[in-house]
């Protein structure tokens, strides 16, 4: 292929096992939203199970159903939490998908969809991010409705959860306080939870006090550190995606030799990549000079010619930068870089997540 994203399942398996052991005794959820951060939902769901993950988070019901259809059985928790305004939950309940719930109308629709199976729900409290999650003033009513639906045998209340803003350590601590207050309020209303989960990649790795019963991680599973000042290896993770592209032609302009790669903004190369990031060709760095709609130019020496393979980002083993470095250099997260690599760039899976 002219360009491809190579996905290292062995690295992914190692990351998942390492992160699971770090957060233990808390449970570990592998987050596979946004097409597994661009790595491919179905292959990565299967790989997550092979790596020993027992809990998978996706975003929407369709993705959760796709994971079940890919052969991920009901011994693995699969959780969804973002819904359309007129979401039909019947297939999700029948497939035993755990459902995050922020609003009363969602809870009613889930209870109505419950047939022979009982829906397992995780009630979401907003702890300051002001996105989804019930506001503290709406929380008692949501919990009370859940209690009555539970008592009527129409739902099972499995979890309580929230997202934290990662604005600062103090803000995160404040979010924890609000989370615990919400659990207390629910307790006073006669509702207890089996699974309390608040932390994602960043806080989940750094702070043991915030892990509760489960930690949800996306970025770290892909080998992308989600906080500053560390390399992947310093926190025991390995970058999973390596993006390569074949040099399609070369030319010389104003005394500088350029190689053309058929990847541009349309394929997900960041708007700010030009002048900031480099690729590696035969172990040597080639700075990115210009990015167009569907091509890019990198500065090379006389040894580079058409057909040579450039590595845009990867583990660093071939002299290339990592995704995290690309994110830092383009003022964004590595998560955004990998998630936006276009589906038109084929994914090639190598290795095995099972560790055997």
């Amino acid at each position: 292929m002219t360009s491809e994203a190579i996905v290292d399942l062995t690295a992914f398996g190692k990351n998942v096992r390492h992160l699971r052991s770090v957060v233990a005794p808390a449970e570990f959820m592998v987050v596979l939203k946004a097409d597994a951060y661009g790595h491919g939902l179905v292959p990565m769901a299967r790989a997550a199970v092979e790596a020993g993950a027992q809990r998978i988070g996706v975003l929407d019901v369709d993705s959760a159903l796709a994971v079940r259809e890919a052969g991920v059985g009901t011994d693995t928790m699969v959780m969804a939490w973002q819904y359309g305004p007129s979401q039909d939950f019947s297939a999700a309940v029948a497939a035993q998908v755990d459902l995050g719930v922020s609003q009363q109308h969602e809870l009613r629709a889930i209870a109505d969809a419950a047939g022979s199976a009982t829906a397992s729900v995780h009630l979401k409290i907003d702890t300051g991010l002001n996105r989804n999650g019930a506001a503290p003033q709406d929380w008692p009513a949501l919990v009370s409705l859940a209690r009555s639906l539970r008592d009527a045998g129409r739902i099972r209340i499995t979890g309580v959860w929230s997202h934290i803003a990662e604005a600062s350590e103090d803000e995160d601590t404040e979010s924890m306080r609000r989370f615990e207050r919400a659990i207390e309020v629910a307790g006073e209303l006669g509702v207890a939870f089996e699974v309390r989960h608040l932390a994602a990649s960043s806080a989940g790795l750094r702070r043991s006090d915030i892990r509760y019963d489960m930690v949800r991680m996306g970025g770290h599973c892909w080998g992308i550190p989600s906080f500053d000042g560390v390399t992947p290896s310093q926190i025991g993770i390995i970058p999973v995606m390596t993006l390569t592209s074949e040099v399609t032609s070369t030319f010389t302009e104003r005394g500088e030799r350029m190689a053309v790669l058929a990847l541009g903004h349309a394929q997900g190369i960041p708007a700010k990549a030009a002048g900031r990031v480099s690729v590696a060709i035969a172990g040597r760095r080639a700075p990115v000079r210009h990015v167009g709609t569907d091509f890019m130019l990198v500065a090379v020496d006389e040894t580079v010619c058409a057909g040579d393979i450039a590595t845009l980002f990867g583990t660093g083993a071939g002299g290339e930068q990592t995704v995290r470095e690309w994110g830092d250099l383009t003022d964004t997260l590595g998560d955004e870089i990998v998630t936006r690599i276009a589906r038109g760039v084929p994914r090639r899976y190598v290795g095995s997540a099972s560790g055997e």
């Binding site: 359309g84 058929a262 709609t293 997260l333 936006r340």
Partner: protein
């Protein structure tokens, strides 16, 4: 009442049925109108329609059907799988593949009757080895290159001769180079079938060669450069999503990751399920606008992977109201060009950068 696009002012959620939350509507009519206008400007020249990057994110097969319904044309695609996809959908036009890998297998193109563009002398050999139905030499229309000089033309001629390829179509944005190259190859016994220039340039078939214009993202009302699309075309795609939750908020509360937006008064916050995972750049928080109920609003706080927040104040927004990110500015929405200018990229890149998670719906 609502139109088929889920009218952004009326707040009708019906088009977002089931779990569908992120939709890119593409108007077949607008694509066809754009193409007719562009063909008129080409004064009867032949047409090469460049559907690179999966038709610049509009959906390759639907786009190919729409453009071929307007009239005969050659279609160009980014890579071999895209060409095969069009063939398997019954598109019988000539199809040119821009990026043929050096490792492509023998007869890979002849199996599907595909042509290839070659942007280097080396690529000529690859195109012929893989069985390209015809070879298009890209001297600088798609590829970006320094000035093509005499030694390079000679290298192309040697490669054509070595591969026993007796005819070519030439592509370049520089009209002088195009005609000079045509004379050069003709003098060496290589048949020149046509000369391809960018749309909007002089395409008079000088010297008896057939004139062809390359029409790219303009057919979708977009531009592949930083400059806006021609005035004769309109944007065909509109990115929309419904409000999925509303929340009352006090004055001076932070919104989304990093709390980069704070409310200035007691207000209502709306959650809209489009984020950078859909291809809306993370840097657009607190910068890009959207259309809600006929009014422009700026995204409040950071764009997350799966959602943005709007501070909707006392507009009376309800769950299910449709938010339009970009589309045809004639309807009040921002354009892809507006987003492009905030990012310093082309409008074609903004739209082509929408990810597979956004469902494309042709109407």
């Amino acid at each position: 009442m609502t139109d088929a696009l889920g009218d952004a002012t009326a707040g009708e959620p019906s088009v977002f049925s089931g779990g569908c939350t992120r939709l890119a509507f593409v108007s077949k009519q607008v694509v066809e109108d754009n193409l007719r206008a562009l063909r008129r400007e080409a004064f009867g020249a032949g047409v090469l329609i460049d559907l690179s990057s999966e038709a610049w994110g509009h959906g390759l097969v639907d786009a190919a059907r729409a453009v071929t319904s307007v009239g005969p044309s050659t279609i160009a695609v980014s890579n071999v799988p895209d060409g095969i996809a069009l063939r398997s959908e019954g598109i019988d036009s000539e199809i040119v593949v821009w990026n043929l890998p050096a490792t492509a297998a023998r007869d890979e193109l002849s199996a599907s009757g595909l042509s290839a563009a070659a942007s280097s002398p080396h690529a000529v050999g690859v195109a012929v080895r893989t069985g390209a139905a015809h070879v298009w030499l890209d001297l600088g229309i798609k590829r970006v290159a320094g000035a093509t000089d005499r030694p390079e033309l000679e290298a192309f001629a040697r490669a054509l001769s070595a591969a026993a390829q007796g005819s070519v179509t030439l592509c370049a944005s520089d009209a002088r180079l195009l005609h000079e190259a045509a004379g050069f190859f003709t003098d060496r016994g290589i048949e020149v079938r046509g000369l391809v220039s960018p749309v909007g340039r002089d395409v008079a078939p000088i010297g008896g060669y057939a004139g062809i214009v390359r029409i790219g993202a303009e057919v979708f009302g977009l531009s592949e450069t930083l400059a806006p699309a021609p005035v004769s075309v309109r944007p065909a795609l509109s990115l929309r999503a419904p409000i999925i939750a509303l929340k009352d908020a006090d004055r001076d509360v932070g919104v989304s990751y990093g709390y980069t937006y704070r409310t200035s008064q007691p207000t209502t916050l709306a959650l809209v399920p489009v984020g950078y995972g859909d291809g809306v750049d993370r840097s657009l928080g607190n910068r890009a606008q959207v259309l809600l109920r006929g009014q422009r609003l700026t995204i409040a706080g950071r764009v997350a992977m799966d959602a943005i927040v709007l501070d909707v104040g006392a507009r009376g927004a309800v769950v299910g109201d449709v938010v339009e990110f970009f589309g045809d500015p004639a309807g009040g929405a921002p354009s892809a060009q507006d987003y492009a200018e905030l990012l310093g990229i082309s409008s074609a890149a903004v739209v082509a950068g929408l990810t597979a998670r956004v469902m494309r719906r042709w109407t």
